[in-house]
C-alpha cells in the first residue's frame, strides 16, 4: 500500500498537506461549537434573556459551522482530485506494464486477472485514498484534541470513557475473529458457485442427454449450502455491530450522567455543583466525539485489508520484469525472408521438460515450411519463437541472417505477418481490422485492403454485407462466425505485406475448399514471402517445400511430403490416419 504512494508527485503531496491543514482547521471549528452552545444554554438559563448576546453566539456558531463546512468541502475537493489522479496514473502504469509483458508473463497472471488488477483493484485503492486519508487525519486529531480538552476532569468520567472504548475494542475483536476469516472465504465460495453454474450451462446438452438434471442440481445445492452458511455466520456476527455501537454511546452517556449525579449528590456546595454540572455537559459532548473518532478509525482499519490485497495485486504486476527486451537495433538487412533455426531448444522457466529440443532448419525466401505433429508436440511454440513471443532457451533463431534478439521488436515485427490459432479481431469495422497496425511503410490503402480480402477468400463475405468494408465488427469479432473471423485474420496478415508469414494452425477453421483456394491465391500473389504453416491436415501442407515433423518436442523428420512418406514413420501414421494409401498416391 505504502509503495503505491510513490506515484504521488510533489504537487500532490502539497495538496495533501493543504488538506491536512484544512482538516485541523475544521476540527478546531467543530470543537469550538460546543463552547458556543454552552454559552447559549447558559444565557437561556439566566433570568433576563439577553437576545443580543444570543444572536451574537448564534452568529458565531453559524460562522463556525459554515467555516467547517467550507473547510470540509475544500478537503473533499482536493482529496477527490488527488485520489482520482493517483488512480489515473496507476491504471496507466499497470496498462503500460502489461503491454511490455511477453506471453510468458501474461500467461502467469492470466488475462482475466490482469483485467481486474487494472480496473477493479485500482478503483478499490482510489476509494481508500479518498476516504482513508481524511479519516486517518481527522479521527486521531479529533480524539487527541478532545481528550486534551477534558483531561483534567474527574477520573471517574475518564474511567467510564475508557471502559466504553474497551468494550468497543472487544466488540471489534469478536467481529474480527469470527467474521474476517469468513469474509475471506466469500470469494472462493462465490467462485465455486460460479463454477457450478458454468458447469451446468456449458454441459447443458450432456446434462439433458444423460437425464442428469437432478444430479447437477444436487451438486449446485451443496455449493449453495456452503455459501449460505458462510453468509449466515457473517450476517449474524456483523449484526452485533449496530446495536453494540449504540449500546456503547448510549451507555456512556448514561454513565456520565449517573456519575455526575453521584458527584453532585456527594458535594453540598452549590457553587461547586454548578461547576460540576457544566463540566458534565461539556464532558458529554467531547466524550461522544472521542468515541466517534475511535469508531471511524476502526472502520478504516476494517476497510484496509481489502485495499491492501488490491494494492498487493497491483504491485505484483508493477514489480514483474518482462524478460524480453528490444535488441540494439539492426540496419536494413539485405536478405529478405530468410529464417534459420540453429539448435533451438525451449522450455518454460521452472519447467522440467523441454517443449522443443534442438531444432535446426533453414527457410529460404519464398519457401513454405510446414509443421505437423500431434497435439502438444511443440509446433505452435516453435513458430512463436520467430516473432519473439518467447525467447529460445538455447540456440539461436536468425531472421535475414541476424539473431532475432538483436532486432528492435518493432523492426522484427514489421517483417512478420502473424495469424494466431484463434482469430482475434478488434472492435471497429472490417477495413480497420484488415488495415490493422503499422508495418513501418505507411498505412494500407483501400486497394491493399480489398486485395488482401480477395486473397484470403473473404471478399464475397464482405461484399455480401450491407456496409461492405465499413461493416461493424464487435469486440472480439463476436458478430462473425469462426470461419469468417479466421479469413479476416488472414487478410490482416496479407495486407501487412510481410516478408514472413506465420500461420499458427490458421486453416483448420476453414473447410477444405476454402482452404485450398486460399493457399492457391496465397502462393500466386505472395510468392516472395516465406511462409510457416502449422497444420493438422495433411491436405493443407501436402505441397510445402519443407515439412518438419515433430513428436514430443523432437524433430523426427524434415523433408517434402513424398520424402517423408518414405522415410518418416510418424508422418506415415499421420498421413494414413487421414487419407487412404491410394489417395496419398503411394505405390
Amino acid at each position: 500500500m505504502l509503495k503505491l504512494l510513490k506515484t504521488l508527485n510533489w504537487k500532490e503531496w502539497l495538496l495533501l498537506g493543504c488538506c491536512a491543514g484544512l482538516i485541523v482547521l475544521q476540527v478546531w471549528l467543530d470543537l469550538k461549537m460546543p463552547d458556543f452552545m454552552q454559552e447559549i444554554t447558559t444565557l437561556l438559563k439566566t433570568e433576563n434573556i439577553a437576545m443580543k448576546e444570543i444572536w451574537k453566539y448564534a452568529g458565531y456558531m453559524i460562522a463556525c459551522a459554515l467555516g467547517a463546512l467550507g473547510a470540509t468541502v475544500i478537503v473533499g475537493f482536493l482529496a477527490a482530485r488527488v485520489a482520482a489522479s493517483v488512480s489515473f496514473k496507476l491504471r496507466k502504469k499497470v496498462y503500460e506494464k502489461v503491454e511490455s509483458f511477453s506471453m510468458e508473463e501474461i500467461k502467469k497472471f492470466s488475462t482475466a486477472s490482469l483485467l481486474t488488477r487494472t480496473t477493479n483493484d485500482v478503483t478499490q485503492v482510489q476509494a481508500v485514498i479518498t476516504m482513508g486519508f481524511q479519516l486517518l487525519v481527522r479521527a486521531p486529531i479529533t480524539a487527541i484534541w478532545a481528550i486534551c480538552k477534558i483531561a483534567n476532569s474527574n477520573w471517574r468520567w475518564t474511567a467510564a470513557t475508557g471502559v466504553a472504548v474497551g468494550i468497543m475494542v472487544c466488540v471489534i475483536m469478536i467481529i474480527v475473529i469470527f467474521a474476517v476469516p469468513r469474509f475471506k472465504r466469500i470469494q472462493t465460495l462465490t467462485d465455486n458457485l460460479n463454477r457450478a453454474t458454468r458447469e451446468s450451462l456449458e454441459g447443458v446438452r450432456v446434462v439433458r442427454a444423460y437425464n442428469a438434471e437432478d444430479y447437477q442440481e444436487a451438486k449446485f445445492e451443496s455449493v449453495n449450502d456452503a455459501v449460505t452458511k458462510n453468509h449466515l455466520t457473517i450476517g449474524r456476527t456483523m449484526a452485533i455491530m449496530g446495536p453494540g455501537m449504540s449500546l456503547i454511546s448510549n451507555g456512556l452517556q448514561l454513565a456520565i450522567y449517573w456519575i455526575g449525579a453521584f458527584l453532585i449528590n456527594r458535594s453540598a456546595n452549590p457553587i461547586e455543583n454548578v461547576a460540576i454540572f457544566s463540566e458534565m455537559m461539556v464532558y458529554m459532548t467531547y466524550a461522544m466525539r472521542i468515541v466517534m473518532s475511535f469508531m471511524l478509525l476502526i472502520m478504516f482499519f476494517m476497510m484496509l485489508p481489502r485495499a491492501a490485497v488490491s494494492a498487493r495485486r497491483i504491485n505484483e504486476v508493477l514489480d514483474t520484469q518482462p524478460n524480453i527486451f528490444d535488441g540494439e537495433g539492426v540496419p536494413e538487412t539485405e536478405l529478405k525472408g530468410v529464417v534459420e533455426f540453429k539448435n533451438v531448444s525451449f522450455k518454460y522457466p521452472d519447467a522440467q521438460e523441454y517443449v522443443v529440443k534442438n531444432v535446426s532448419f533453414k527457410a529460404e525466401q519464398g519457401q513454405t515450411v510446414a509443421f505437423i505433429g500431434s497435439t502438444g508436440s511443440g509446433k505452435s511454440t516453435l513458430i512463436n519463437l520467430i516473432p519473439r513471443f518467447y525467447d529460445a532457451t538455447e540456440g539461436e533463431i536468425l531472421v535475414d541472417g541476424v539473431n532475432v534478439k538483436e532486432y528492435a521488436q518493432r523492426d522484427l515485427h514489421n517483417k512478420i505477418g502473424y495469424v494466431p490459432q484463434k482469430a482475434v479481431l478488434f472492435a471497429g469495422d472490417i477495413a480497420s481490422n484488415i488495415a490493422f497496425g503499422d508495418n513501418g511503410r505507411g498505412a494500407a490503402t483501400q486497394e491493399d485492403i480489398e486485395n488482401a480480402a480477395k486473397i484470403a477468400q473473404a471478399k464475397n463475405i464482405i461484399e455480401r454485407k450491407e456496409d461492405k468494408y465499413a461493416s461493424r465488427v464487435a469486440q472480439g469479432g463476436t458478430n462473425l462466425s469462426g470461419g469468417q473471423k479466421q479469413r479476416l485474420a488472414i487478410a490482416r496478415a496479407i495486407a501487412r505485406k510481410p516478408e514472413i508469414f506465420i500461420f499458427d494452425d490458421s486453416f483448420s477453421a476453414l473447410d477444405y475448399k476454402t482452404d485450398k483456394a486460399l493457399r492457391k491465391e496465397l502462393k500466386k500473389k505472395t510468392a516472395d514471402a516465406t511462409k510457416f504453416i502449422v497444420a493438422q491436415r495433411i491436405g493443407t501442407i501436402i505441397d510445402a517445400d519443407k515439412i518438419v515433423v515433430l513428436e514430443q518436442g523432437d524433430v523426427v523428420g524434415i523433408g517434402t511430403h513424398q520424402e517423408l512418406l518414405k522415410s518418416c514413420q510418424v508422418y506415415q501414421e499421420i498421413a494414413y490416419s487421414q487419407l487412404s494409401k491410394e489417395e496419398l498416391g503411394d505405390e
Partner: protein, 597 residues
Amino acid sequence: MSRMMHNPRIPVGEKVKYKFSDTWSKLIRYCKAYLPTIILALVCAVGGTVFTILGPDKIKQMSALIGEGIFGNMDFKAVTTVGLTLVAFYASSILLSYLQSFIMTTVTQKITKKMRNDIAHKINSLPLGYFDKIQKGDILSRVTNDVDILGQTLNQSIANLVSAIVLFVGSIVMMFVTNWIMALVAIGSSLIGFVFMAIIVARSQKYHIRQQKLLGDLNGHIEEVYSGHNVIKAYNAEIGFNQKFETINKKLYKNSWKAQFMSGLMMPLMHFIGNLGYVAVCIVGAILTKNDPKMFDIIPAFLIYVNLFTQPLSTFAQSMSSLQSAGAASFRVFEFLEQADMEDESHKTQVLENAQGNIEFRNVKFGYDPKKIVVKDFSATVKKGQKVAIVGPTGAGKTTMVNLLMRFYEINEGDILIDGISTKELTRENVHELFCMVLQDTWLFEGTIRDNIVYNNNQISDEQIETACRACGLHHFIQTLPNGYNTMLNEDAGLSAGQKQLVTIARAMVDDAPMLILDEATSNVDTRTEILIQEAMDKLMEGRTSIVIAHRLSTIKNADLILVMKDGDIIESGNHETLLAEGGFYSELYNSQFEEV
C-alpha cells in the same frame, strides 16, 4: 454452442420493460412464505426505534433531576429509578434490534438460497434455444451479483427504512406535541438544507452514471488489448490502442473526481444542517422563553428531536438508491425465472423400453426461427444397427439433426419416430434414455474420473467402468495416475484434449443405450489420437444405431447412409460410392482434400 450462434435470430421471448412497482410486487410474492417472519422482524425494528425515541425523554428527566440537585437536595432515588429505566430501555432496544438483524439475515439468506437454487433448476428446464441467444456470463452474474445485491438490500435497507420512517414520524409527532411553532422552525430550517442536498444528489447522479459507463468502456478496451496482446504486438499496433486508452482514462479521471467530490459533499452538508437546526431552535426558543419562562424546559428536548429528525433523512436517500438497485437486480432474476419452460410432460404415459433402434424422419420441417425454416422437408429411414453420417461445411446445420432427434428443439412440422413411436408421444427423459452421446465439447466436471464416467447412474459396477476404459485405451493411463479412478479432475488436471474425449466416450459406453450420437467427437484431437478414439468408437457402435457428424470425411466412408447438408438443408443422400458417382457437392468436398494446389 457457437455453431448455433449464427442460425437463430429469435428475440429472447418478449422484452419485458422494467417497472419498479411490478418487480417489487413480484419479489413480495416470491417471499410469501417468509412474510410473517419478516413482519416480526419489522415489529422488532419498530420496537427498537420507539425505545430510541423515548430514551432522550428520560435523559431529559435525568438532567432535570440533576439540575435540581445543584441547589438543594437531589432526589438520588429518582435518579436511580430513571437510570435503571434507561438501562432497561437501552437493553430492550439493543435486544430488539439484534433480534431484528438476526431474523432478517436468516430470512434473507433463505430467500437468496432459494433463488439461487431456483435459477439452477431453471437452467435445466429451459428450452435449449434460450441458451443460443444469451451469454453465459449474463446468467452467471444473475446467480451471483444480482442475488447478492438483492440479499444485501433485503437484509439492511428494508429494516433501516422502517426504523427511519418510525424515527422520522415519531420525532415529528413529538415535536408538534411539544410545541408547534418550534416544530415548524426545526423542520423548516432542515428543509432548506435538504433542498441543497437534493440539488447535489441530482447533479452527482449524472457523474456517477457517466463514471459507470466510462469504467465499462475502459474495461472493454483493456480486455480487448490484453486478450489480443500478441496480435497487437506482432502488428506494432500499440499506438492507436494507447491513444484510446489515454482518452478514456483521462475522461474517467475528470468524471471520477467530480463524482467522488459530489458524493463527498453529503456528509458535511448533513452535519451543517444539524448545526443550523440547532441554532434556529435556540434562537426561536429564546424568543419564546422571553414571553413565557416555562418554555425553557422544552429547548433541550427539541435539540435532541432536531437531531433525531435529520438522521433518518439520509437513511431515506441511501435506502431509496439501494432499493432502486435491488429492484433492478430482482428484475433481472425474475426475468430469467419467468422465461417460458419446456412443455410439461407429466401427462405422457407411453414409455419405450428396450428399443430396437429404428429411426424414421417423416417430412420434418424445422427452423430455429419459425419464420426462417432451415430444414424444409426431410425424410429418411434408418434401420437398427446402421451407421448414418451427416457431413457438410461448417455452419451447414449438421448439429440441427441431432438437436431434433434428441428433442433439444421441437420440430415445426412432420414427425420423428423411434421403433414406430413418435418421439412427441414420449417424454424427453425417455427419449434421452434411448441415446448415448459424445459431443465435440469434451465436457467433464469437477469430480473423480469415476464420477465423470458413471455420471448420474449408480448402477454401474467397477468392472463395467474398467471394461469401458480398456476398450477406449484409457485404462492404462488411468492406472498411472496417483489415485487411479479416484483422481480428481479439475481445470488443471493435465488431461490432454484427446484423453478428455476418451473419458466422454467411456461415459457413453457405460451408458449402454440402444442408439449412439457422435457429434464431431474427434475434431479437436490430432489425427493419431483419433485412430485410437476411432477404434474405441467402432466398438461403441457395434450393434447400435449410430449417427455420426464428422469433419474428416475419411472417418465416415463406411457409413450406410450419408446425408450431405448445406445451408441448413439436406442436398444429397446415399452411401459413399453412390454419392461419389453422382459427382455432386459431396464428391467435390471429398476430392478437394487431396488435390495439390
